[in-house]
Amino acid sequence: MTTPKDSFPTLGKKQPTILKQRKFKMWMMQHWLKVAIIGVIVILIGLSIWGLMSLESFYRNLTIAQMPISLLMAGIHASIFVFMYLTFLRGGFAKMDKKNIKGARVDVRWDDVIGIDEAKQEAWEVVQLIKDRTKVLQIGGKIIRGILMVGPPGCGKTFLAKAIATEADIPFLSMAASEFTEVFVGVGASRVRKLFKKARTLAYGYGACIIFIDELDAIGRARQFSFFGGGGETNSTQNQLLVEMDGLKDNDFDIIVIGATNAAEETLDPALMRPGRFDRKIYIDRPDLVGREKVFAYYLNKVKHDPAIDIGLLSRKAVYKSPADIENIIKEAALIATRRNSDTVTHKDISEAIERIDMGIKHPKKMTHYERKMVASHESGHLIALYILHPTDDVFKASIISRRSALGVVHHQPREEYYTQNKDVLLAGIKVSLAGYVAEKLKFGVTSNGVSSDFRHAMAIASAMVWNYGMGENGFIGDQSILLGGYHRFDRISEDVRQKLNEETNRILTTCLKEVEDLLKREEAILDRFINELLKKEELEYDEIEAIFKEYGKAGMKQSLRTE
């Protein structure tokens, strides 16, 4: 990756004088009103001095003596006028907040963008294209007009856009799409026009300019055309955006519109996506394991931390977390460290921060010993089933301290991002869900209503396997739910088939239940150990859990199951 050079890309190095003139003209275009006002004020002050000098000192003193009150009155009148003007003529003080920041001042360095290497690679090409427009035109290439950044929230879309502006050394205008929308039809369109006018002025002076529209879906959703006139404001705003983006072709300088959305690409209006508009897409996903390690390392470097922190372990714990989530975890960990009067963030602080964010804050409840033991048994059942049977998930913590509405919790995460789940993983999920029920039954002979959500989860998976995924063993292939009746649709599934599918669902559940019962009976010693440990300590950390399994010779077993 080459280092960007300090140059004004679109006009090339041969025209610095023209660029200087343009910058001056642009400055004048932007500030002509201020210049005019200052000029008038200077002239008026000059005239006042000249006028006062021509007066005899008696009248001069008289005039000067009245000046403070005159100034005060003028100030009051001006304030009233401005208030009335803004309130009644300009839609109040909630005017468009235009951020006029020069690219270099955005100050997001390319190296600061971490954990999204693929997206960075694509964005770098954009930077190069902006920086060497002449070259692109020479080889007959097409100047990029619009870039759409799609991805989940908190993954660095805005950050990447700012980094593009910084690297290309061009001005950056940023607005959230929601800022365009107003209750009055036409206001949004007017704001779009103003934004592009501003961008054109800046691009004229600097050779190029980036407009960043965050949450583009607020104005970019597929337009609706109704006889009743609904959605008129959004439609007109979007229409204006389309028009402005078309108009960019006529200029000899670059305005690059970067839109960001976390909505599905399909929800956006097709007109926005056609060539010449947002025709380049950059997909920004959550970082993978390596990416998360980098993000953790980056944010940890911003706080004082224990050098013994295992970033690899943290990254495994933080599967599916976005960079913003990770930043939040480190900030929360710093707060926890501060609260315990430490100036160093430790692994425990970060673990606590993750738990606090994922599981909620602890709300200890006064429970009877019987209830505590029931909860400990329930969670221990989940824990053992997860550790031994689940092929993808790691157990990070078990707790019988209540959080949110749960009396206990086993915190687990997939070791890595998985985008599909096979039959084994789904069955493991069912087994883990049923393990709480089985453990209660095994230790107490009766079960509690705490199994309700577990059963719902297990049933949902089993049902989906049979009805939707064709994973049943009774020969029914396909998504049977399509045959179910509904709105404007007849039920095309027979009672017999329905019964067979439900029987298969139940078979899966009972088979899983049997397997879990066998497991927990077989490993009852470990179950008792975990129950006792939980009753004693209330919470067990990853290392403690791992140590107990190791003690019973199960650590290797877990590994072998995972790699199947």
Binding site: I45, I49, S57, F58, I64, M67
Partner: protein, 286 residues
């Protein structure tokens, strides 16, 4: 950088505004007619703006201005309009200069003399502070007129004296100025106010200031009953000349804030009535 600029801008704007205001304010510093130039300024202004030749001189804290004229009064003994304008213009120059000078002056005396025909002489005496007050509308023009001392007389010494050598310069003082103003105000009051004019006849008013005492000798007699309106009921209190005069004097002293005296001795020769009041007693009169 951006933050620095944001902080710098209001500071720069404030400094610029301060400089602008200072420039305007400083432009007002300095007087138009500095100390020592008042007399010459009056002469120059009269000549330059109205083509009037006057002789001006400062004596103590009094500015004396001499305006020689070919003719002052007409055959009826009245100041004609043209001459009146000339005197007014000269007085205006005096007012303008005295308003815009830092020279320590309390009074001005403008003497317009007919040096060719009769030797008629018009004298106008005024207090500098009164000029400021009337210009600032602190006192009415009528009150201002009452505060100025005017005199028209025949002075043969003025004939042929274009330089004003016959005028004996002196430094006016406040007590004498107020005493003279008092007698003139009393004269005007008893002559012009209908109620008093019907009942009294003003004959003379003399004043002296000796040993910090105002000595005011009036001669205001009550008219014969036949000359007056029918008498009202006996319950109606008749106005007393000395009461009216003391009230007027108290008013004058209060308006000028003059306290450099100890007593007031006032007498009405027509009734042989005399009163002596201390400063404190004078202050009680409203």
């Amino acid at each position: 950088m951006n933050k620095q600029k944001k902080t710098l801008f209001p500071v720069l704007a404030g400094v610029t505004a301060l400089i602008a205001l200072s420039a305007v304010s400083f432009s007002g510093c300095g007087v138009s007619y500095p100390a020592g130039t008042a007399a010459q300024s009056v002469s120059d202004m009269c000549k330059k703006e109205y083509d009037i030749s006057v002789k001006a001189k400062v004596y103590g804290k009094t500015l004396w201005v001499y305006l020689p004229l070919d003719q002052l009064v007409d055959a009826n003994g009245q100041i004609d309009e043209k001459t009146g304008d000339t005197i007014e213009n000269a007085a205006l120059c005096v007012h303008r200069v005295l308003s815009s000078t830092d020279e320590d002056l309390d009074f001005y005396v403008l003497i317009a003399s007919d040096i060719k025909t009769l030797g008629a002489e018009f004298t106008l005496i005024g207090h500098v502070y009164d000029i400021m007050r009337v210009r600032l509308l602190d006192i009415s023009r009528g009150e201002y007129q009452r505060r100025m001392l005017r005199d028209l007389k025949i002075n043969p010494a003025a004939l042929g004296d274009a330089e004003g050598h016959h005028i004996r310069l002196s430094d006016l003082d406040m007590a004498r100025f107020l005493a003279e103003q008092f007698t003139r105000r009393i004269k005007l009051k008893f002559e012009n106010e209908k109620k008093l004019n019907q009942k009294f006849v003003y004959k003379s008013g003399k004043w002296y200031v000796q040993n910090n005492t105002f000595i005011l000798n009036l001669d205001i007699a009550e008219k014969e009953p036949s000359e007056t309106l029918p008498l009202r009921s006996s319950k109606h209190k008749e106005p007393n000349v000395l009461d009216i005069a003391l009230k007027e004097l108290a008013f004058i002293l209060r308006r000028y804030g003059f306290e450099d005296y100890e007593k007031v001795r006032i007498a009405n020769f027509a009734t042989n009535e005399t009163r002596i009041l201390t400063k404190e007693e004078m202050k009680q009169i409203r």
